[in-house]
Every structure is written in C-alpha cells, then in structure tokens.
Amino acid sequence: MTHLSLSNVSKKFVETFAVKDFNLAVERGEFVSFLGPSGCGKTTTLRMIAGFEAPTAGKVILDDVDVTSKAPNQRNVGMVFQSYALFPNMTVAQNIGFGLRIHRESEAAIKQRVSEMLALIHLEKRGSNYPHQLSGGQQQRVALARALAIHPQVLLLDEPLSALDAKIRVSLRAEIRSIQRALGITAIYVTHDQEEALSISDRIVVMNAGAIEQVGTPFEIYNFPQTAFVANFVGTLNTAEAEVIDPSKGLIRMDAVQLESDSPEIKSGQKGEKITIAIRPERLHFLSEGKRANVFECKIENITFLGSVVRVQVSVGNVKFNNDTFNNPFLELPKIGEKTQITCARDAVLVLKN
C-alpha cells in the first residue's frame, strides 16, 4: 500500500528546474534512498516532502492526504539534518522532548517517551548533557531520537552521516537501519554516497540533473544499470563503444574484438547499430579460470592494490578495462607489460541507454 507518493513534482528556481516531473510511490515501512551527485535535486525533493520548499507543480500525498500546500509544522514529518540541528540551549532530554511539548503531551508522557528514545539510541545516561558535550555521532543519534519521538508518519534524513568520520558513519548507518526496521517507519534518505545507499536501502532512486534516472533495489541498480549515468555513478564500470553484428546471436564488435551478450537490447537491435556496452570490473577474469565465452587478448597496463581488492588495468586494443580480483595472500598477479587473455560471461556484457 502506497504511504507516500510524489506525482509529477517539479521545482523551478528562477529559470532552472531543480526537480522535474518526479514520480515516486513509497510503501509503508520502506527505506528509500535518493542517490545522486551534488545539485541533482535530491535534497530539494526531500525538502518538498518536508514542506520547506513549495513545488512549482505536482502533488505530495501522505497517507492519502494531499499535503502539498501544508506548512512544515502541520505535516507530522520527522527530519534529521546533516548538521544535526540540535538546539544548543537545551539538554539532550529537552531536545528529544521538544516536539512532544509542542504537541502538548503530559509531562509524564514526555518523560516516558524521552526515556524510551534515549534507550533506543543507547544514550540513557546522557539526558542531562548539552549537545556540545557530545560527539558528532552521539549528536546525530539524539537528532534521530528527537525526530522519532513525535511518532512521525515519515522520517526524512538529509545526508545525516556526511559530517562524521568513516568508522562512525558505517556503524551509525547500520544503527539507523535497524531502528527504522524495528519501528517499521517509512524513511527517505538523501545521500551522494553510493556505498551508503546500496547498504542501507530497500530501494534506491538515482537522480541526475533534477530527474530520476532509475529506481530499483540496490541489487538491480548495481547489476542492471539502465543508463550510462547510473552505471558510471554506482560502482566502477568499464564502458566501450560497440556495434551490433548479429542481433539474433547477441553478437557485437568492440574495436577488433568480437563479443557475445545476453542483453535483450542487442537481441531487439538492428545489425550495424552503434551501442555502448558496460562490464563491471569484478565480472572480468583472467583466462586461467576457464571461462571461454568472450576471450580477448590484452596487455597488463597497471596494477593497483586496494586492500580487499586488487585492480588490474588491461588494454584490449584501444580500449582500457579494469579487472577487480579479491585479494588473498596466495594471489598470483600478472606483471605489468605482460600479454595475456581476459574473459567475461555473456550476461556480464550490459548495454547502456544514453
């Protein structure tokens, strides 16, 4: 059942569209991430859901109620900001209880709810501290508790982890996800960090230049990118120009190399059609592993050690590809300048829409 829907939502600033024809239906309890580079319109869309920006066109429907023209304080939407936005003059407990006081809850109910929230974020003993006495991670947990305390219909998170260091970011995103799951609350999460979006979301909305590029589960977005933008923005990707040779057999030519692909775009294409193909680095393998579908002669150009992964750059004719291989202490790496063969499965060759 749709809990939040945005239909044909647009936002124009002077002459520029920050968001254009945005359509999305979010299920109750779903965790949806808006992913994209700076200026792609993800935060503007979130702010329109919160009511901080009025859409130029379109509707925001929450629980079957049109909230498009409602003020932010009439929407019952919890918001977590990148800069925490805790009230510096109030203690942690007062911050968490602020929304409840505004809603004129009884003192006993406020106390009870604040205790629950402090327990939820594991800061039971920090209720009397001021925000400046907490670390960044703790402050953001308090901001989360404050947003959840009012029982919002939707929880909005605007790059909540951007200001934190890498380790805290990883642990806090897991905490946010587990709290969201435990409470069953619908959440919209804005991020430019693909790893964050892939790890935390039920679905990802990839945005570019104010428009949706693709909506899908993290698995779909990563493995089956539908556009060149998504493919390049999410993960690392090898792309190359190619030409369809035989659509029925999925046969294409890239530079001087012939490739086979299962992609339906090739099967439905025309002979001689120019296409852009994409292959994930981890789907390329050196031939010793016995994969024979697509075999190319290549030359080792560079080897980069990335910790858990070793990235080998090879040239196939004029095209340069990256191959990612999981690191292990017994890994035998080729030498730079060495000539060898590389292969990938038919289903690893994707076709991108431009």
Binding site: A50, G51, F52, A71, P72, N73, N76, V77, G78, M79, F81, S83, A85, L86, F87, P88, N89, F98, G99, I102, H103, Y130, P131, H132, Q133, L134, S135, G136, G137, Q138, Q139, A143, R146, A147, I150, L156, I168
Partner: protein, 264 residues
Amino acid sequence: MRKINLWAWLWIILGGLYFFGPLYGALDFSMREKRGILSFVAYENVLKDPNFRDSFTYSTLIALATITVGLILIVSTAYWVHLRLPQARPIVDFITLLPFVVPAIVLVDGFIQIYSGPPFALTDTPQGTNVLLMFGYIVTAMPYMYRSVDAGLRAVDVRTLTEAGQSLGAGWITILFRVILPNIRTALLSGAFLTFAIVIGEYTFASLLARPAFGPYMVLLGQDRAYEPAALSIMSFALTWAAMMLIQFLGRGAPGQGQVAGAH
C-alpha cells in the same frame, strides 16, 4: 624572544596610561571639593540633587522602552532577513548604517517638522514627545543594536534550527522565543546595554525635544559646577563597567557549539 616581551610590556603600559591616566585624574579631581582632604562630597551632592534622580529615572525608563521596542523591531527584521531574505542583507546593512551619516541634529529637526502638526502631532503632549524621543533613540542605537543581533544570528545556524523546530511541529513565535532568542542571549544583552549607554548620555534629541533627560542634566551641571561633573563621569564609567560585567555574567552560561574531541 625577550625583546618582543619588552615591547609588549611597553605598549601595555602606554595603553594603560592612556586609558587610566585621565580616569585617575577625574577621580582625584572629583574628590577634592573640600580643600586639603579627599572626600565624596561631590558624589553626595550629585546623589542628593532631585534633578539627578528625576533625570536619571526618566532616561532609564526611556532606555528600557527603547530597548524593548528596538529589540522587537530589530530582532524580527534580522531574523527574517537571515531566514528568508539573505540577498537583502547588504541593503539592510546600509539602512542600519544611515544614523552614522545623518547627524542627530538633522534627524531631530526632521522629527519636529513632521510630528509637530497634523496628522501626527506627537509633540503636542509630553507622552507623544516621549514616544518621539524613544523612536529617535531606536534610530540612533540601530547600528549598534542591529550589528549585535546580526552577529548573534550569524553565530547560530538560524535556518536549520528553524526548520528543525518546524519539523517538530513548532510555529514561528515558539521557535523564535524557545530556540533562536536563547541562543543569541549574549548578543541581545550586548545590544541592549549599548543602547542603554547611548540613551543615558544622549543630549541632542532630549534637549531639542525639551525632555528632562540625563544628557541635558549633565551638560547643565557642567556649566554650573566644578567637581560634580567629574563625579558624574566616574559614576557613568562605573555604571558602564557594571553593565559590561553583567553581560559577562549573564552570558557565561550560554551553551557553546563545540564538540568534545574523541567522545564517540
């Protein structure tokens, strides 16, 4: 290294002499009303003078009214500019600097021209003239008041705090009084005390509007007496310092924005 310290001390001593020398001179002079001995006779004379009490009380009341109305006008304007019209900030900055450019004598003359006849004949009654005086003082103190409030608002993330309050269900007034104002407390106090200091010593407005304020009283006293004006100067210094210490005292509990390093 030692050379730098000597220079530093030299400048400190010179600065101290520059500031405290005249003050010491005034203090010494104010206590020499009785020949040959140091006494507080001049201070007693000032404090016993009913005109001192009346003019000081009058100016204090006008100062309080100026601070109250001024804060309402300036805080709401500065808050709105920060929140909704950041592009208008240079214009507002320019407007708030105008009292530095327009002399008080020109301003009060303009006031008298406009408000001495219908439709706004404020100078016809003492209450009306008091209101006119208060608004004149609001204009005069505006550069100081606005800058204090503006600096306070710049130090907090007004927009995000307001949006956080709104997302929790609060309206503008609640956010302003429960979130924004407590966080700019020191700035408000600083603006208020600067305004108080300006109003207490102001002469031109009060004199030309013929109000019994403290500024004209001090000038009058300076014309008639020798030691009492010096005593008044010391008293106003003491008052200003007391106000400054009060700002420090009331502002010291203002919560900071810093973060405890490593307290994850």
